[in-house]
């Protein structure tokens, strides 16, 4: 097994989501949803509490619908692995305003910290590159995370951030999907349709 990451996931999320402005954020189920909520609850965060494997594709549909906005998908390694085909779909579609950041603890943290494929043999950044993503990054320390932050808001980049497997207290945002979707659309001022 590769060495575990050392970064505190909440510190990483806080850094990546600092001063979000009108950034459109989609989070994958489990800890990334809690991390984004802990960094600052806001209507333009759309939290997935289920639909595992769907975060990246929600990001694509949103990015295509809002080409003048920036979209960030913040998810975990297990969620990204389940929807790995989306890396090919997104690269083929082309969405210059979409970025993905995977908080990679090499674990299925919600279910007992079983090792995931990223702790065994799989390098998601290499998968994304092989799918045709024009830019991929792996960040292992906070300076790299700080350098990643502006890139996630300017580039079509796929990033892996190696975080500590330490489990943190859950920070629970609203989980009523209809409420989350409605407030997101109102905040975007597309609620009329």
């Amino acid at each position: 097994m590769r060495n575990d990451g050392t970064l505190d996931r909440r510190a990483v999320a806080a850094a990546l989501l600092r001063d979000p402005g009108d950034l459109l954020v989609v989070t994958g189920l489990g800890a990334p949803t809690y991390d984004a909520a802990a960094a600052g609850e806001r209507p333009l965060n759309f939290y997935l509490w289920g639909a595992m494997g769907g975060a990246a594709m929600v990001g694509l549909g949103l990015a295509l619908a809002q080409p003048r906005r920036r979209v960030l998908v913040l998810t975990g390694d297990g969620e990204m692995l389940m929807g790995m085909g989306a890396l090919a779909t997104i690269a083929a579609a082309g969405a210059p305003n979409l970025a993905i950041a995977v908080l990679d603890n090499a674990r299925y943290g919600e279910t007992g910290a079983q090792p995931s494929h990223t702790g065994l043999t799989t390098d998601l950044a290499a998968v994304a590159a092989a799918c045709g993503w024009p830019a991929t990054v792996t960040a292992r320390d906070m300076p790299a995370v700080e350098a990643l932050r502006p890139r996630l808001r300017q580039e079509h980049v796929f990033a892996v951030v190696r975080i500590s497997p330490a489990e943190l207290p859950r920070h629970l945002p609203p989980r009523d999907g209809a409420y989350l979707a409605d407030r997101f659309r109102r905040a975007l001022d597309v609620g009329g349709d």
Partner: protein, 172 residues
Amino acid sequence: MSQTTWQAQVYAALKDARIVQLGYVPDAGHAQLIEAAHADPAMRAVVLTTEEEGIALAAGAWLGGQRAALLMQSSGVGNCINMLSLPVTCRMPFLTLITMRGEWAEFNPWQVPMGTATPAVLTAAGVHVRRADHPGDAAEIVAASAALAFDSAVPVAVLFSQRLVGAKVFAK
């Protein structure tokens, strides 16, 4: 346009319903719709690696103020089940057009189980199911299903029967 095909009428119904993103897993029965979508500068056609991606795509489109639809074959319905929790839980519209296999002059036995299960599986997952058997009313059924999906914010599937689409011929 006296030679307009039912597929062309269905595409027009999608346009009338203001669909602007079309996710698809390639299927011979949907080939005309897929070609029309790629030829249409006002339509974003997105080729998927697996059908459930199209449900998440449609959810994202809806969050961003656009309407999407998903084209797939009945064999792909089984891939979609958990992802259907997304439009159901979030009370989002969802429209999918499904070409049926395994029900009419089917040559390939591997298509029969999922084709047989498709209506029941969709219904169990919370999707409203409509069925088009005749070329004369396929577009009308799509138009009504799009209205149901987007006006009432529910998931709707239109099944294009294998008799309508034409059974695939396996030449020896």
